[in-house]
Amino acid sequence: MAGESNGAGVFGSSIRRREDPELITGQAKYTDDLQLSGMVYCTILRSDYAHAKINGVDASEAEALDGVIAVYTAKDIEASGVPGGIPVGWLLPDMKIPEHYMLAKDTTRYVGDGVAIVVAEDQYTAHDALDLIYVDYDPRDGVADPKKATEDGAPLVHDEAPNNIAFDWEIGDKEQTDAAFANAAHVASLDIVNNRLIPNAMEPRAALADYNSITGELTLYMTTQNPHIHRLLMSLASLGLPEHKIRVIAPEVGGGFGSKIHHYADEAIAAWASMQVGRPVKWTATRTETYLTDAHGRDHVTHGELAMDADGRFIGLRVDTYAAMGAYLSTFAPAVPTYLYGTLMSGEYDLPAIHCHVYGVFTHTVPVDAYRGAGRPEATFIVERLVDEAARVSGIDPAEIRRRNFVSPDAFPYQTQVALEYDSGNYEGALDKALEAIGYDDFRKEQAAAREEGKFLGIGLSTYIEACGLAPSAVVGSLGAQAGQWESAVVRVHATGKVTVYSGCSGHGQGHETTFAQIVASALGVPYEDIDVIEGDSGVMPHGWGTYGSRSAATGGSAIASAAEKVVDKARTIAAHLLEAAEEDLAFEDGNFFVKGSPDQAQSLPDVALQAYLAHNLPKGIEPALEATSFYDPANFVFPFGTHVAVVEICASTGQVDLKRYLAVDDVGNVINPMIVDGQVHGGIAQGVGQSLYETAVYDDGANLLSGTMLDYAVPKAHFLPSFETDRTVTPCPHNPLGVKGVGEAGTIASPAAVVNAVVDALSPFGVNHIDMPVTSEKVWNAMN
């Protein structure tokens, strides 16, 4: 790529991802690829019952099997004296926090709950031994539906949480909102189930733990989106090892979608097992285990209402939600249906009264936690479905009713009724661009003509906003986060002018090695090829908080930009000394320092770097070497927004939904690499279309997971999807140095509402006003007949 990637112009260009050659040729090393001398394997026996008392465990046959090193239960972990806990990292007022131990002690609370550990010489033996452990279960009733779980008499997941309520949370002004509804000319009202999703990262979770009993050091290679968070929680809650004795390394990580943020029992078990047997221990989830243990997403039961005046102006929104937490409170689970959900209820609209009430509910299921979008897809779905329903009941066109209610471009900063202050936006601009590109007015004519011929076309809009780059730390702390949300960076210029960048983010498919290098190339004016980016090793870089919530560009990128600026400042001081000029007289262009007007007498950044390292001739008070560290705490969230449009055709005889067009106009602020941004948008849309048409985790009445394999759970395939049309508007973020927002989740947040709005639009001749996701052919056929 030499030649096209020099200096300042690199920011904003579609450089090919430097990560890809290794990934697509199979050379990249994932956790399960790693081999250590003396390594043994661990497997985990999982409960077949959603809810059961454990009367006893007989492991004698398993222990006697050739090649089995040990079998452990919760009693052994307790006896070892480690804390053994799997903590929740977001605290809400009056929240019930039941004990979550590394293995079930006397009760299993979901199918997949860990009961025993096998350590064996090889994978086959480790799995064979699981079949030889006999658990005396006393099965109890289970409950999987978050609303039914709160009814009197429902089986309790934890005795200390009556009616299975983990927390009772609200935001907004109830009185003011009720008053608005009392004065409404029209009210749109919908009951909505937001379907439970299973993450399906391409690479299953895995851990390879290597404990050195002499030094007391644990090296833990694992599938993580945030090595430092895992190090912290391993130290404090699970293993009790001092934090500085734990090194968490993320080798290549094959996707996460949030599922590799969380602190699970399994990786802690591998580490604990290594401490017991004194050998490296590897655990790799089978695909079945990923279905049974990776934190699921969504799973809400909601009633929502939107009040309007006679002109279709929104005057109030109220929402009641039962949000499943699953059997235990996962790492960031309580934040998802509260601060990442209720705070988005204003959408892109000037809404004077909002009230959102949420019950967090324990169910006998896999824990639910952040999954791509995390709360914001659920909120956007409610708001955008209600807006379409409002259009229907008021007789106003869906595009027009949106236009009538948008926060206007001159109203920023805009303080919503649900805590967020939107910093910038031009919602009508994105809508106009999308309607024009899709041919909205012509479509309505085509739709009417098609209906005459018995063909059912529909168009759906989703004018979304999202809040990502979670920040600032003091604010998230006041809301309950037991973590900071700043980000770290080190920019190290070597003596030869080559650059190594260390980021506290931890990419797992996002392309950070490319985009972060683009930021630095632009800031330092050095060739892109001369910059390497390193992430994902708690032993190498300063503390960071990882990659999730579309935060990496806005927080990690900004940290890198700040560190690069510090480097330039120091280099300028040295260059001024070398040029015998005053700093304020120097210009810095394309990596060269020179006295303004005399570009021929320049000191390049590599020239300065060499002098900084030799330290033979540095200005007084300037330390040798050329590097800088930044800990960047953002001033606010960032607020990407846009308009997505779906066009569908429904097969009249089978009900099958054909997604014919999908168009996205996103505003993610300044764009570092347009190709990577497009890729993120494409992936996000595919995942949101997956939720809207195909994916759903199905539990039976006894809380058994029925959709437990890829034969049953439908991840969208490429041939289900049209070629996406993408475009952008650019409203730079006003408060970070790069003017960037986030893009990783926008597609997933916007698309479910666009698709379902299109289906409902197509079915309007049948009097249909809502269909729950996934919109299967059978559901549509039933609605038509």
Binding site: T288, T654, Y694, F720, N782
Partner: protein
């Protein structure tokens, strides 16, 4: 995804394979492995031994003679879908085989494995049924032939005895005036048929129907023939109206309902896809 321990045999003749099966009652036949290996990895099956018939030369070929098409049990879906002989003599089978799974599956999965596994949602059983295929079977007691209509006994159960192997599928080549079609409504996760309709019709020179068959995958516990609907077409002009009236009252006995689709919806799909398959078959006749 680690199967239990098993012994592995790789016989070089059908005779040898049958003998191993007779000697090992807990053994399973391995052909392409695309049904058996996944269930072994999930430990839903744990055969004591596998008898790999994948390298028996006698099971590998497609031949055509005297108006008859013979396909060896280990011929892959991909070979069937792309064989000029199959496309000429039994285009329905080629069309169905081309819709199975994805490219990788079609390069490994075999017709013998497919029919012996008897998954009712797979694509070949209804085609075999609609074509009136004859299945040649070898066992320790000798060889025999079973008609497709007698072969599929129940959900994943066939007329094969424990020591028998399906060796060859024989189909009478399509005559003049015959058209066929396979139409599938696939489950978005598995790609298996929520409903798959296989239709064959024959018309005389005047365009009137002299023979019809209509069979379904995915609707009930076995591939099933809608014989009444098909026979009601004989003598008709195969017009859209005739086809619609033949399928409109059709009801598949013991239709299956599950988390993917209710029995009623599968019946509806059968009527819709059945009509579609018949119309396409007619247009090709």
């Amino acid at each position: 995804m680690y199967p239990s321990k098993f012994d592995y045999h790789r016989p070089s003749s059908v005779q040898e394979a049958v003998q191993i099966l007779a000697d090992n009652p807990d053994a399973k036949v391995l052909a392409g492995g695309h049904s058996l290996i996944p269930v072994m990895k999930l430990r839903l099956a744990a055969p004591a031994a596998l008898v790999d018939i994948g390298r028996i030369d006698a099971l590998q070929s497609i031949s055509r003679s005297n108006g008859s098409l013979r396909i060896g049990a280990c011929v892959t879906y991909n070979e069937i879908a792309n064989s000029a002989d199959v496309q000429a003599a039994a285009p329905l089978l080629a069309e169905a085989a081309g819709q199975i799974g994805d490219r990788q599956v079609r390069y490994r999965g075999t017709i013998g494995g497919n029919l012996s596994h008897a998954d009712p949602a797979s694509d070949l059983p209804a085609a075999a049924l609609a074509l009136g295929a004859t299945l040649h079977v070898a066992g320790s007691g000798g060889s025999r032939s079973v008609s497709a209509s007698d072969f599929f006994v129940d959900l994943m159960m066939t007329a094969l005895q424990a020591d028998e192997i399906l060796t060859e599928v024989e189909i009478t080549a399509a005559g003049a005036g015959t058209g066929s079609a396979y139409v599938k409504f696939e489950h978005p996760a598995s790609g298996y048929a929520l409903c798959g309709a296989a239709a064959v019709v024959t018309r005389d020179a005047g365009g009137s129907c002299t023979g019809a068959s209509l069979c379904f995958n995915g609707v009930s516990a076995t591939a099933v023939s809608a014989a009444d609907a098909a026979s009601s077409l004989v003598g008709s002009d195969l017009s859209d109206g005739a086809i619609d009236s033949a399928v409109s009252g059709m009801s598949i006995p013991d239709a299956t309902g599950d988390m993917f689709a209710s029995a009623g919806y599968r019946q509806e799909l059968a009527r819709t896809l059945g009509a579609q398959a018949l119309r396409t078959a007619r247009d090709r006749a």
